[in-house]
Symmetry: C2
Subunit: 453 residues, 2 copies
Amino acid sequence: MTEQNESKPLELNLVNELPLPSDVSWRFAQANFQPVDVADQLTALLTVEEIAACLELLPLIRRTEIFDYLPDGIQEAVAGVVSLDSLMELLEELPSDSAADLFNYLSPDQQADLLKDLPARNRATIQHLSSYPSGTAGALMTSEISLLPTGINVQRALEILRRTATGSETIYHTYIVDPRHRLVGVVSLRELILAPPKASLDKLMTEELVTILPDEHQQEAARLVSRYDLLALPVVDESQRLLGIITYDDAMDVVEEEDTEDIHLSASVAPLETGLLRTSLVNLYRSRVMWLILLIFANLVSGVGIAFFEDTISAKVALVFFLPLLIGSGGNAGAQASTLMVRGLAVGDVGLGDWTRLLGRELLVAGALGLTMAIAVSPIGMFRGGTDIALVVGLSMVVIVLFGSLLGMSLPFLLHRLKWDPATASTPLVTTLADAGGVVTYFALATWLLGLH
Amino acid sequence: MTEQNESKPLELNLVNELPLPSDVSWRFAQANFQPVDVADQLTALLTVEEIAACLELLPLIRRTEIFDYLPDGIQEAVAGVVSLDSLMELLEELPSDSAADLFNYLSPDQQADLLKDLPARNRATIQHLSSYPSGTAGALMTSEISLLPTGINVQRALEILRRTATGSETIYHTYIVDPRHRLVGVVSLRELILAPPKASLDKLMTEELVTILPDEHQQEAARLVSRYDLLALPVVDESQRLLGIITYDDAMDVVEEEDTEDIHLSASVAPLETGLLRTSLVNLYRSRVMWLILLIFANLVSGVGIAFFEDTISAKVALVFFLPLLIGSGGNAGAQASTLMVRGLAVGDVGLGDWTRLLGRELLVAGALGLTMAIAVSPIGMFRGGTDIALVVGLSMVVIVLFGSLLGMSLPFLLHRLKWDPATASTPLVTTLADAGGVVTYFALATWLLGLH
C-alpha cells in the first residue's frame, strides 16, 4: 500500500511518440512519475538487461518501488541478471510479501548465497513467507504490521506508532497482540487521534475481527476484504497468533487476477502468466491447444451421431439445413446457463445448497426459452419442409434448449462438488457436449416422427 | 468505507438450521454482527415489509449501516414501504453516495416531499449527487471529504481533522483546497502525525494527484484506484474544483460488478440487476431470450450455406460426419481469441494501437493451432473416407481455425472502435459467425477438391 498520489500519472501516448526508447525510459525512471507507470514503460520499451541497468542507476527506494510494479515474469528475469548485492538490497527494502515472491524466483544457488548474508531478522521473515504456496493467503500477506501491546493508554500507543511507522505497510489499523503474539484486537488511527490521551487502549479496541488462516485460498482472502470493506485482513494461525496482514490493494490485484483466470477458463484458455501482449507465442499456443484438441474428440461424438443417422439424412437431406441452428441454440443456451452459474459460484452468490432451487428455476426459464425459440423456428420449418418438418424442428428445439441449459447449469455444480474449479465448465466444453446431445435428439426425433427408419 | 472489523462475521450455516426466520433475523439484526451479514440474512429470510419493520426497530446508526448493505432492488422496495420520516432519517445518515442512490429510487412525489423537509445542506448535496447518471464516476463519489485550507501548520491541521472527523468517509487522506475550492494537494494522516507540529502543510502536501472527471465511466475510476493503489480517488471538475472522492471499497464493488457484467455478456446474457437467485424468472428469461433469438437468425446463414451445397452432401453424405467437428473447432478457437481480446481490453492490457501487432501474433498462433488440429483430424478423415476426405478435412480445419480466430480477435476491436462494449463480441456470437464461415469453407473446399459440382 503506497502513501497514494506521490507523483503524476504518465501520459503514455506522448511517450510512444518519442524517438529514443532507452533515453526516454531513463528520464521517466528518474522523474516524478508514478512507479507503476514507469514499470510499464520500462517493460514495454526495454530489454531485461536494459531494465536491470536502468534500475541500478536509481536510488534504492525509487528502484524498489519500480521493481515492485514490474510483472512477475520480468521480475524473475531481472533477478537473473542483476548482481547479488543489488538483490540483497532489493530483498531488504521490498515489502515482505514482494521480497518473498522475489526470493522464490531465484535459483537455489542464489537463494543460498543470499540467505548467508542477509540480516537474521530479514532471513527469518523471507524464509517464513516464501514457504507459503503461491495462491494462498499466506503468500499474499506482508509481515510489516504495526503492533501494539495490551494494557497501555492512547498517548503511549501514539508514541509507539510514531516510532515504528516507517516499518509498517499501514498504520491506519494497528493490531493489538498479547505477550504470546495472539491477536486480541484492532484499533484505527482515527479512533486513536479522536480518543482522550489517557483512555485505555484495551477499552478502545475492537475485539471481534474478521481473520483468515494462511493456507486458505487467496480468492477467499480477497472476498473477505471486499465483503467487509476492510483496509487490511489479519492472517492468524490456529492458535490465533498474528502472522501478517493482507492489504486491500493486494486483494484488488487478486480479484483482477482471479477474474481474468475465470474469464480465460470460460473460453477454454489455460491461465496466462502475464498479459496478452507479453505472453510468448509458444505459451499462447500451449494455453489454447490442449482444450481445442480435447474438444475435437468430444465433437467426434456428434460425428458418430450423424453417421448413425446417415440413412435418415440421405432420405431427407433438407434436415441438415436445420442442424447448425438447432445444435447452435442448445449450445448457446447452455453457455448462458453455465456462465451464470460459474460467476454465481465465484462471487459467492450461490452455493452447493441452492442446487435444487436453481434446478427448478432453470427448468422453468429454459422451458420458456425453448418454447419461444420453437415458435421462432417453426415457420421456417413449415416454409422449407411442411408441417412434419416444422413439428420435428420445433419439438427438437424445446428438448435441445432444455438439455443444453440443464447441462450448462449442472456441470459447474458437479465440478465444484468434486473440488475442481467450476470455471472449467467452459463455454466451448458445454457447447460441444450440447452439440452432441442436439445431434442425437434432432435426428432421433426426425427418424421417429417422419417414419424414416 | 467502514472503520473495519467492528463485529464478528455471521456463521450462515448455523442460521439456516434455526426454525423461526423472522425471530432469528431480528436477533441477528440487534446483535453485534457485521452489517453486511445481517443485510444478507434479512434479504434471504424476510419479505420487504418484514425487513422494513425490522429496520425501524433498530437504532438509527445500525439501521443505516444495514440498509446501506441491502441489494439495490431491496433498498428500492424497502424505500417504497417505509414512512417518510424514516426515509428522511436514512437520507440524512447515509453516506452521500448511498443517499443519492436511495433518492433516485424514490417516486417523484416522495422526492418532492423529502426535498421540502430536508435541511438545506443535505438537500443541495443529494440533488447534486443524484444528478450524475448511474455508472459514472460522479454517481460513485461521496461528498463527505475531510478538507483543509492552504497556509496552515500541522498542529492546526490535526485540530481541524479532530473536529470534523465524524463527518468524513475517511480521514486517512485529507485534501487541501484553495479558497475557490480547487484541489491543490493531499496529505496523509500518517504524514501529519509524523511531522513536527509547526511544519507547514503546504510544504508537506503532495501536489501531483491522480484525479478523474465526474462524467467518466465508473470502470475507469476503479481502474485508477486499482492501478495506483489509492485509498481514495478525488473527483474534480474541469476547473480542478474538488467535487468528491471515490473510496477503494466502492471501487472494489465496481470491479466485481463490471467483471460480472462482462462475464455475463461473454455468454450473451444481458446484465442482471441483482444476484442469480434474487433475479425474477421473468428477468432471467428476458436477459437470455433476445440473443438466443438473434443467434437463431445468424445460424440460418449456416443453414443456407448447407442448402446451397445440398448436392455435395447428397453425393457424399459421409462429409456430414466431420461437420460438427470442423465448425465446432472454428467456433472454439474464435471463442478463445475473442475472450483473450475482450479481457485484454477490459483490464487495459491491450489498446486500439496494438491492433496490427496482435493481428500478426494471432495469425501465427492460430496458424499453428490450425495445423496441429489438422494433423489430429486427418487420420480420422483417412479412416472414414480415404486420402481425398483427409485432405479436404485437414485443409478445411486450417482455414476454419484461422478464420474463427481472426474473427474472434477482430470483433472486440471493431466494437471498441465503434465505442460499443467489446464484451458484446460474446462467445455465442463469435461461435455462430464462425460456424457459418466453417460450413461454407468446408463444403466449398469439398465441392472443389472432390470435383462434386
